[in-house]
């Protein structure tokens, strides 16, 4: 590693670390509303990281990207989620399939694995944010883990969105963002997907009287 890391890089690394921390927090969090809050916070950190990168490099599309992140991940999606949680009246505990300490342990192993996988690549990166690629991968993995361990449909969705955050972080950290047209497309997809999911939740609750995915284990072959 370089002896003198520029401030901006330090900042980005810091935000990335916070994102990772938040990912862990989400993994451990039992309450639905707090989960949404944490998700919003993660989005905000992502926004800050992107913004820092944009300011540092002066690339215009990174500003757009940061704006998009702010709009979508910090404002729109959490808002939709809040409304859903309220309207669907999902209270209290989020039950995990595996108990939380175990999940955390697995999470730590995953982070190590992710760093290990990303290490040879990070060394090839010439951007100031290369170290964060490993963190991004770790965030993706942790979100994946969260989706596996959670039982409520809505927390799975939050996991899914958190995974998107990880991906955005990867895009930003490794390459200073994807081409604009792609980023717009991705954002649109995520938004539409979220809306569809919202509709879905209501239908699921109508049919199953619950958003617990344990009710959705009827289709099987054995």
């Amino acid at each position: 590693m370089n002896a003198a890391i520029p401030l901006s890089a330090q900042l980005i690394n810091l935000f990335a670390a916070v994102i990772l921390l938040l990912a862990f927090a989400m993994l451990a969090q039992r309450r639905m509303l707090s989960l949404v809050n944490l998700f919003a916070a993660q989005g905000f950190c992502l926004f800050l990281a992107t913004l820092t990168a944009a300011v540092t490099t002066g690339q215009s599309h990174l500003f757009y990207s940061a704006g998009l992140t702010l709009l979508l991940k910090v404002i729109a999606l959490p808002w939709i989620l809040y409304r859903l949680v309220r309207q669907l009246n999902i209270k209290g505990e989020v039950e995990a399939l595996i108990n939380i300490p175990t999940t955390m342990l697995v999470g730590i192993v995953l982070v190590m694995a992710a760093f290990n996988v990303a290490l040879p690549i990070s060394e090839l990166s010439h951007t100031i944010t290369r170290g964060t690629l490993g963190i991004a991968l770790a965030v993706v993995m942790l979100a994946f883990l969260m989706m596996i361990t959670r039982q409520k449909a809505i927390s799975q969705v939050v996991g899914f969105l958190s995974m998107e955050n990880g991906l955005f972080l990867a895009a930003t950290s490794a390459t200073y963002g994807m081409p604009m047209v792609v980023e717009l497309g991705i954002a649109l997809d995520v938004l539409v997907g979220m809306i569809i999911l919202g509709v879905f939740f209501f239908q699921i609750r109508d049919q199953f009287d619950s958003l617990d995915i344990r009710h959705m284990e009827k289709l099987k072959d054995n």
């Binding site: 690339q59 996988v117 040879p120 690549i121 090839l124 990166s125 010439h126 991968l137 993706v140 994946f144 989706m147 449909a153 799975q156 899914f160 995974m163 998107e164 991906l167 990867a170 895009a171 490794a174 390459t175 200073y176 994807m178 081409p179 604009m180 047209v181 792609v182 497309g185 991705i186 649109l188 997809d189 539409v192 997907g193 569809i196 999911l197 879905f200 239908q203 699921i204 049919q207 199953f208 995915i213 959705m216 284990e217 009827k218 289709l219 072959d221 054995n222």
Partner: protein
Amino acid sequence: MDFFILMLAIPLVSGALLTVVGERDWAPNLNVVASLGTFLAAVGLTAEIVANGPRFAFGEQFFIDSLNVFFVSLTAFVGLTTSIFSGPYMRNERDRGRLSKPRLRLYKSMYQLFMFTMLAALTTNNLGILWVAMEAATLTTVLLVSLYRTPASLEAAWKYFILCGVGIAQALFGTVLLYFAAERVLGAAGNALLWTHLVDVKAQLEPTIMALSFIFLLVGYGTKVGLAPLHNWLPDAHAEGPTPVSAVLSGLLLNVALYAILRCKVLADGALPEGYAGQLMIGFGLFTLLVAAFFLSRQKDVKRMFAYSSIEHMGLITFAFGMGGPIANFAGLLHMTMHSLTKSAIFFAVGHATQKTDTQLMEQIRGLIRINPLIGWGLMLGTLAILGMPPFGVFASEFMILTHAMKHYPWAIPILLLALGVAFASIFGKVQPMVFGETTAKRLPHAPAITPVFLHLGLVLMLGLYIPPYLTRWFHEAARMLG
């Protein structure tokens, strides 16, 4: 007017239009007309490409060459026949009270949008847009799968959404890594995700990154293809959605996802050591084939069974492309074509059969040949075709795949043999009593659309015995492009 723009515009516009007027009595006809228009535009585009060679559109964002124009025309064709089939099918569903008018509207508009996303995914030159289109295709089909709003269909749609969403997120990570690798060579300009540019510099791409990227892309798009053990969404979605949707999912969406993998494989092959990507695909292909074959023997639901059959064939095709080389690639492309045509024909026949008997459980479907000989024969011949019986075309490709594998990958032969044998026994053993024997079924108010079934089977039969030279040239060129 430009055929390409026309081809993309028709489904987009008609999709929007059908959102408004989709419940009218003539809406199915509009659906067919739009699909016909798309198909004609695709034919025009194909003729243009065959005559003039590859071309770009919208700057360099879209690129049509002999590889994807072949998928485009196939997609448009199956889209057309499926829309023909879905007319009477959906009327029957409405009369049976399974679908309300808004749902019919939703169905038709989503159908057209789905066609649009697939055509966009096939023609785009930008791997990012490819990802976006694939995700959009997932979203539209999620709505189609959950059309009946029954608990089962919601469950299937939910699983489909989550699994494919996660899968496709991994593909996005792969795309990011690919961009990362490309940017080092092509610079940060917007063309670092353009396939045409990437393919020029594929040998210079950093192998470490490309390996990671290909793994993510393979797992990501592979989920969509239905490679085991990522396939779990597929049988549920096929079984619970309306049958026309099953037909296009099996016949088209899987192809498009595989197409995405193929495009990425070309890049990975350039950057990575000899055969690495191929070996991954061979591994996935064989595993998928084997797993799907054994799944087949336990099925009770007819659509579910044919969904597993699709998985099996995707495994075989992946295996073929994994082997690589002109013969195997050719065989893979041919098999994709044959599988699309045959499997959609089967779903058409199955759709009518399930409507007539009012069940999807195979043990309750008996004597189709007495209910309606054409449906019965259609299902029987389609099944035999999909099982690789000559003179149908599926056999032609299986012939090439197997003989090629015997020569170059003899260790894979026992697996192939086992899987094909088990699949044959499972599927045929279940279809035969459905088609033959005695029955207790009733007549339906709307006469089934049998034409698409026999149109597809006729094509498959013809391609088994005679592949026109221009088609051959085209296949060869596409196979050569895949390396």
